[in-house]
Amino acid sequence: MPIVRRIAQALLVILLAFTATFILMQALPGDGVLARYQNPELGLTPEQIEQLRVVYGVDQPVWSQFLTSVGNYLAGNFGTSLQSGARVADLIVTALPETLVLAAAGFTLAVIVAVAIAFLASFPSMRWLRNAVRSLPPLFVSVPAFWVGILLIQVFSFGLGWVRVIGADGLEALILPAITLSVPISAPLSQVLIQSLDEVGESPYVAIVRSRGAGEWWVLTRNVAKNALLPTITIAGLLFGELVAGAVVTEAVFGRAGIGTLTEQAVANRDLPVIQAVVLLAAIGFVVINLVVDLLYPVIDPRLRRERTA
């Protein structure tokens, strides 16, 4: 039963995201057909543009366009891009793997960095190191991703010549974008991890473990870390949004042909069919990841397992 409710909730979230995008896009002045064909480069007359609007169906009332759009999606027809005429499904299928690879690499790196920061920040001795490390997350969260990206390119590609930006493939093309993306993701992750390590570290049972003669390292790795994991996993699920936003900026800076670049271009050109598909994809991703996180809780925390069976 809870699973059915979760799925119903998920579908509602997706439908709401779809509708909200549609309404917001309609509220803005102009539309994708105008943006493409009223472009002065083409020099079309108002009558010719009107004819094209009829061809694309954007002359229809808003509610009718909305129903058509929903109907097409249900039928598995995602439409064509207003900007280029390419099939939206093709665009997504081409762009998605690029972004998945980048997101996975960026997220993995972010987790490694966050864990390293959190452990150093909770390391018992060396107070100066703890303080220095604790100032990293606020710094990471406040530097804009595009700036980090440009800086990395300038230093490591143009300056030192270690990796190419233009004409790079595979791993070479992934290193700098993944680092760029990991910066804003690792910040909240490490912050939450540090905080819960602190909290757990002060709890009574830790004091008991200590009183029984356990060393600081033992306490941190065996007792504290495991219990501090739960809030971190929650925030990791929520960070998916950050990941999508970071991908837009990172891909634009590095010229990667992923979902981020697709989104950026679609938004700039008011390309509604593409924007809708991307929003839908993001909503599905968000829902699925948070579902996975929910299912992970009982695996990590035996107490939750018992509650559910009780």
Partner: protein, 553 residues
């Protein structure tokens, strides 16, 4: 005896052949040896070209958009070739300039018979007619718009195997130039049957034309690779270079970030980058690389002062705006030597240009007194008002044009000094386009257009074309100044070249006398080139031509 004799003869023949071959190669190797210093072209290599934007369509009439045009210019051939230096028309796929009847309503072309498309099919008279029919009429069912360059088109006709004729409902003197532009690039029959989607990204590998390069591989949104056609042998006869292109291929790579384009170029990761912004030019030259800045030969980057708007109906207000904007200060602050101060609504290199600089003089005192005379009085906030209406004007941001928002911000400050409030419309391309079509939302319109023909000025200002002045009011549907339309029509309908030049000059005189337009600067296309790139050139409106480009490395 006979065999020995035969053997001797053959020996003799072989020796002679080898000797003569050696002599030949001697002859050619002499200049080849010196070529590395004197710059004889080398064949081979793949050039990496950086584009700020991804392309949107390979439908030739969409070639005005820079990324589209940059591809189409190298993928397609045209009936005629416009020499980018002289702007004269020369034969290309047509073996000579067309025969034109007296009132320019009928054009007859004779075609080469040795041209093939990249799929092996021959370029026939039928295909040529099918091309121009589509471009001249468009096909709204397939969302393929008509070409802006072709006016009054009625239809084409196959006269015989090598001859085609085109008919027009009214004089169409710009047609010969129109078929030389990227917008009239010839494509194969199968490609002509594509719809708007078929010309779009994801389908580039199916685009078949007859040009020196063909699409080899496409990665949607980031990269498109062209390769040279080995059997290409129909370059414009006036070119020194004939046969296949020197380059083996070109990689067009999208790099939207300015610093990435400039950095990759100076770090040697790319060979050519398009759109080097003015502040970056010094970075490129400081690294020892070269800047190529080519003029776009059309309507200059300018402000259309929309006189049908009530606030701008008084010529004194329009003159005050012109006198109140210090264009030299703008160019000094934002641009470089590649951006010459405009002296007319047309660029110096444009067909029909006439100097109007006397009408575009910065004089703040004059601007103030003109506004005083016109009855606009400064209020407590320093903004002038008349009958309770503030002198507040809205400008659009010309997103495709260089640093438009920065230009407008300076203009905002300058006009504030003479008591005019400037608001700048914000928003993306769709929002800008929608607002710009409405005179109530945008009273001063920032734009430019490139085309190396007399018709360009009509394209920009005529009420049924771009209508940048909103002479045809979007509110009332009426033409405010019929005289302007009349003058513009004369440019596009006089069959004689001299008459067209005179008509164009008359339009420029009228635009400056009436204070309808303030031209800012002549908009160039600025490319950064690595030192080993040779023979790079651009066509008549500054889109890249890679046919004669080669790499000296």
């Amino acid at each position: 005896m006979a065999p020995i004799g035969r053997r001797l003869a053959s020996l003799l023949l072989t020796t002679l052949t080898v000797a003569s071959l050696a002599a030949c190669s001697n002859q050619t190797s002499e200049p080849a040896a010196t070529s590395s210093t004197s710059g004889e072209a080398k064949t081979g290599g793949t050039l990496t070209y950086l584009e700020p934007q991804t392309w949107g369509s390979l439908y030739p009439p969409s070639g005005g958009f820079y990324p589209n045009g940059g591809l189409l210019n190298n993928l397609t051939d045209r009936l005629l070739y416009q020499n980018p230096d002289t702007l004269e028309l020369e034969p290309w796929i047509a073996t000579e300039l067309p025969e034109v009847n007296d009132d320019a309503t009928e054009y007859t072309f004779t075609l080469r018979d040795d041209v093939t498309f990249s799929d092996g099919t021959p370029l026939t008279a039928e295909t040529v007619v099918k091309n121009i029919d589509l471009f001249g009429k468009g096909d709204t069912d397939r969302a393929l718009p008509v070409s802006e360059a072709i006016n009054n088109y009625e239809g084409g006709e196959v006269v015989d195997e090598h001859t085609v004729a085109f008919h027009f409902s009214a004089p169409s003197p710009g047609f010969a130039q129109a078929v030389s532009t990227i917008n009239s690039g010839l494509v194969s029959d199968a490609t002509l049957d594509l719809d708007s989607d078929g010309f779009g990204p994801g389908n580039a590998e199916n685009f078949v034309a007859s040009g020196p390069f063909v699409v080899e591989k496409e990665e949607i949104g980031t990269k498109i690779s062209l390769k040279a056609r080995e059997d290409y042998d129909w370059a414009p006869p006036s070119l020194q270079h004939q046969g296949r292109a020197y380059l083996d291929g070109i990689d067009y790579v999208v790099a939207g970030e300015n610093s990435v384009r400039v950095g990759s170029l100076t770090a040697g990761q790319a060979d050519i980058a398009r759109q080097i912004e003015a502040p970056d030019e010094a970075v490129v030259t400081a690294a020892g690389l070269s800047i190529v800045s080519d003029p776009t030969n059309g309507v200059t980057n300018s402000l259309s002062i929309r006189f049908p708007s009530e606030k701008l109906s008084d010529i004194r207000v329009r003159q005050a705006i012109i006198a109140g904007i210090d264009r030299e200060a703008i160019i000094e602050a934002l641009f470089s030597d590649s951006y010459p101060l405009a002296t007319s609504s047309l660029a110096k290199g444009a067909k029909g240009y006439r100097d109007q600089s006397a009408n575009y003089v910065y004089d703040q005192a004059k601007a103030n007194s003109l506004l005083d005379e016109a009855g606009w009085v400064a209020g407590s906030d320093g903004i002038r008002a008349k009958d309770g209406v503030k002198l507040s004007l809205a400008f659009n941001i010309a997103l495709p044009q260089p640093r438009s928002a920065d230009v407008l911000t300076i203009i905002q400050e300058q006009l504030r000094e003479i008591g005019i409030e400037v608001t700048i419309i914000s928003g993306d391309q769709a929002a800008q386009t929608a607002a710009s079509a409405d005179i109530d939302q945008v009273q001063i319109y920032h734009s430019m257009v490139a085309r190396a023909d007399y018709d360009v000025i009509k394209s920009q200002y005529y009420s049924a074309n771009r209508n940048t002045l909103q002479n045809l009011s979007s509110a009332t549907g009426e033409v405010t100044d019929p005289k302007l339309d009349e003058l513009l029509l004369a440019v596009a309908s006089s069959p004689e070249e001299a008459d067209r030049a005179a008509a164009s000059a008359a339009v420029q005189d009228y635009l400056s006398e009436q204070a309808y337009v303030l031209p800012l600067f002549e908009e160039p296309q600025v490319y950064g080139l690595a030192t080993h790139v040779k023979g790079f050139s651009t066509e008549s409106v500054a889109r890249p031509s890679f046919y004669s480009t080669w790499l000296d490395r």
